[in-house]
Structure formats: C-alpha cells, structure tokens
Symmetry: C2
Subunit: 227 residues, 2 copies
C-alpha cells in the first residue's frame, strides 16, 4: 500500500543544511501492522509525514497504492489523505476552541461517508476510547492522555484504510495503553493497515513487524513477510 | 517543602461541576524524590499545578515551606515560582518563535542568578540533554523528544530547589529516558526535591517514593519515609 524508494529529506536552516532522512527504502503491504522504533530525533515522525502524504521528499519517491505522490497536486493529495489515511499526531494537533466531539467530527466535513451519521459515529468512537463523559470538554479542559485519545478517535472518524499513529500511547497509563492497542489490533484484523511509531517495546509487541530507524536510515527490519 | 491539606479542585463547565481532586493529603520532604502514578484523567497534572503554585485549590490548603499559597498575591506567587520551582510541562509549553537556546534562557530574564552567565548555563544544560547541535532550532524544527528535552533544560535554568516534571520521558526512547533519569538522580543527590508524574514503571524506579492517584484521591503511598 505504501512504497518508499530511496527517500531523502533535508531541511534548510539559514545557511546550514540539516539532513534528516538519508536514503530510506520501505515497502508496506496492505493489512500489515508495522511498528517504527528508534532514538529521539532519528527521523521517525519525518518518515511518517512522507508516508502520510503530509510532506514531500527532497529526493526519492513515495508511492501510495502505486501512485507517485509527487505527481499529485496539493489539492489531490489532501483529498487522498481525507479518504484513505487517519493520522494520530505526536502532539495531537487538536483545535483548541472545539469540543472533543467536534474535534472528532472534523474529518467528516471534508469527506463524509454515505450512510454514516457523523455525530453518532463520533460519539461511538469517543465511548470506545473511554471518553464518554468528556465529549463537551475542550482540549484545555482535558488531561494529556484524554487529548491523546481524542486524537486517536479523530484519526478513525473516516474509517481509513491506513492508520498512522505517532506515539499513540505516550501519555497513557499501562491499562489504557493496552486498551488502545487492543483497539488497533481489532482494526488491523478487519483489514486496515497500521503503521505506528512507538518508544514502548510492550506496545511494539502488538505489531507483526518492527522497523528500527537511526540517523535517518533503516537499521533493522524484523518480521517482514517479504523475507 | 510541600504540604497539601485536604485539597479539592472542581471545575465548572457550563452548569455542570467537574470534581477533579477530592480531598488530597500529601506531605513532601525537602530532598525527596517522589513519583506520582495513576490512570489517565485521575488528577495528577491538576495536583502538580497545585503543588507548583500555578493554580489554587477550590478547597483546602497548599503550603510551600510553611507558607499558605492562598495568602500570597499572584505576583508574589510568580516570584516564588521563578526562584524556587522548575516545571516540565506535559505539553512542553515552549515559545514557538524562540530557538531552543532562547527558550531555555527564558526563566533567567525574570529572575537572574548572580554569578551565572545565562547564555553559558543554558548551553551547558542543552549539551547535558544531548541537544548541542539543535540550539538554534525552533520548536517546530525539533522532534517531539527534542522539544521535551528543551522543556527539561528550561526547568533547570534557575537551579530550582523543587523540580516538578509532568511525564518527562513520554516522548523519549529508552536510552534517552534513562539518561534523563540519571540526570534527575544526580540533581536529587545534590539536594533538590523532585516530584515526577510518570506512566512508566521503569522511570518510577528512580524515585524513592511512589504515590498512586485514582479518581482524584491518593490510593497508595509506597516508600514514604514518614512511615
Ligand atoms: N479546565 C477544566 N475543566 C474541566 N475539567 C477539567 C479541566 N482541566 C482538567 N479537567 C479534568 O480533570 C481531570 C484530571 O485531569 P489531569 O490533567 O489532572 O489528569 P492526569 O491524571 O494528569 O491525566 P493524564 O495521565 O492523562 O495526563 C480530567 O478528567 C480532565 O477532564
Ligand atoms: N523544520 C525542520 N528544520 C530543521 N530540522 C528539522 C525540522 N523538522 C525536524 N527536524 C530535525 O529532524 C530530525 C528528525 O525529526 P523527527 O521529528 O522525525 O524525529 P523523531 O524520530 O520523530 O524523534 P522523537 O522520537 O523525538 O519524536 C530531528 O533531529 C529534528 O531536529
Ligand atoms: Mg517523533
Ligand atoms: Mg497529566
């Protein structure tokens, strides 16, 4: 579903060039459950932005279902993301003036799914992540872990084929983390592809394949069905 | 150094009252290393805001070195915090348009310590947390774990007697987490009081005492020297 070919990402900071991704090759099959691990600053979130079509590589190619994302306009990329990809951001990126419920419903305004009532669906998702009695709270009226769960529910709103989760349990206690991982396992069993960045080895256990990133390169790849 | 007597915190959301802290009693001795654990949404960050004099209880008392914080004006409270308390926030709270270095130096502008060059001290702190080559980056040019480490360095800028850290390793890989915990242990050995919220049992191991919070109350207290 995702192919990353020799991808480089370099940032420019004034007159200095900051190389972040230095030639990443990665193939992810439909229905795979992949964990990405590695040191802080090694390039995991940057790689996920490439995979999630939120950013373009400096060099190399990213294919989504065989389509080169560089051949798509920004508008076409946004449409693709809205329909196909659910993103849980490392820093949540919730809208401060909207309630938890309104934050979760947001993806349905651009791309609504026929036959699903967005309000009912959003409420169900919030119940599933344990936030039934926090739906009216705004992000500054929620705990860190509650905000994280709103971000997770929002990512699932449009029933995406590909779920990208960047440190989805970083602010959750063990019990709640495992509940979220059971949810992801169930979504994966139903056929969705899940790519998850995590620092927690117990969370990575839920994945069938683990890729280690270090200094902008893939160091190890365990459990790749292609091997 | 900190005494919390029968503290309640209730929020008002429209016409509904949200009880968060329901009668917390806690005494923390100078030089103690205390970990606070508990489920997401149980009230840990809210309790830390009370202890850190960033918020006032709805009922009950908080004493800082025997002074009732409710007897101090907002200005006096701010001065006390600036001199005595270093706070690592769960969501970092970095200033977006300032570089990592400038973010770390920020506490020294309100309260500078005689004999210390803020620029040199800030650079040393950033080196200590492994960000020597990220000093000029702004928060949106840093990874999640790098931003977290800038927040940690900033908390240490004024050499505070009390360090409050809310999930300080949530975005860090195991190796970097342990480096931060070694740093905290060293600061504690030098006499500073450390109160740390964490979801990670391995991180809690570095503390000498662990308090469990659930539904706004303290459920368990292990390792309390007073017992
Ligand atoms: N301004 C507010 N208005 C209403 N409720 C609030 C407000 N701020 C926090 N809360 C509620 O207070 C409860 C405790 O929040 P707190 O941030 O202390 O939890 P926590 O234990 O730190 O959780 P986490 O581990 O997820 O960070 C939560 O249920 C939250 O919804
Ligand atoms: N806009 C930018 N300009 C310059 N450098 C950047 C920019 N964005 C990210 N970086 C750098 O890219 C590197 C990788 O960042 P990334 O967020 O991908 O790391 P990460 O592996 O997700 O780390 P963490 O585990 O801490 O979240 C970091 O060293 C960071 O400083
Ligand atoms: Mg990251
Ligand atoms: Mg919290």
């Amino acid at each position: 579903i995702i192919s990353v070919f020799n991808v480089y990402k370099k940032y420019r900071l004034g007159d200095i060039e900051v190389p972040v991704l230095r030639g990443i090759d990665l193939e992810v099959r439909p229905g795979e459950f992949l964990a990405i691990m590695g040191p802080s600053g090694s390039g995991k979130s940057t790689l996920m932005n490439m995979i999630g079509c939120l950013d373009r590589p400096t060099e190399g190619k990213v294919l989504f279902r065989g389509i080169d994302i560089n051949s798509l306009s920004d508008g076409e990329l946004a449409k693709l993301r809205g329909l196909e990809i659910g993103f849980v951001f490392q820093t949540f990126n919730l809208i401060p003036r909207l309630s938890a419920l309104e934050n979760v419903k947001l993806p349905s305004y651009a791309n609504s799914i026929p036959g699903i009532d967005p309000d009912e669906h959003a409420r169900n998702l919030l119940k599933t992540v344990g936030l039934e009695d926090r739906m009216r709270h705004k992000p500054n009226e929620l705990s860190g872990g509650q905000s994280q769960r709103v971000a997770i529910a929002r990512a699932l709103m449009n029933d995406p084929a590909l779920i990208l989760a960047d440190e989805p349990t970083g602010n959750l206690d063990s019990k709640t983390s495992l509940e979220i991982m059971e949810l992801f396992s169930e979504l994966n069993r139903q056929g969705r592809t899940i790519i998850m960045i995590t620092h927690d080895p117990e969370v990575a256990e839920y994945a069938e394949r683990v890729v280690y990133v270090k200094d902008g390169l893939i160091q190890k790849d365990y459990g790749d069905q292609a091997d």
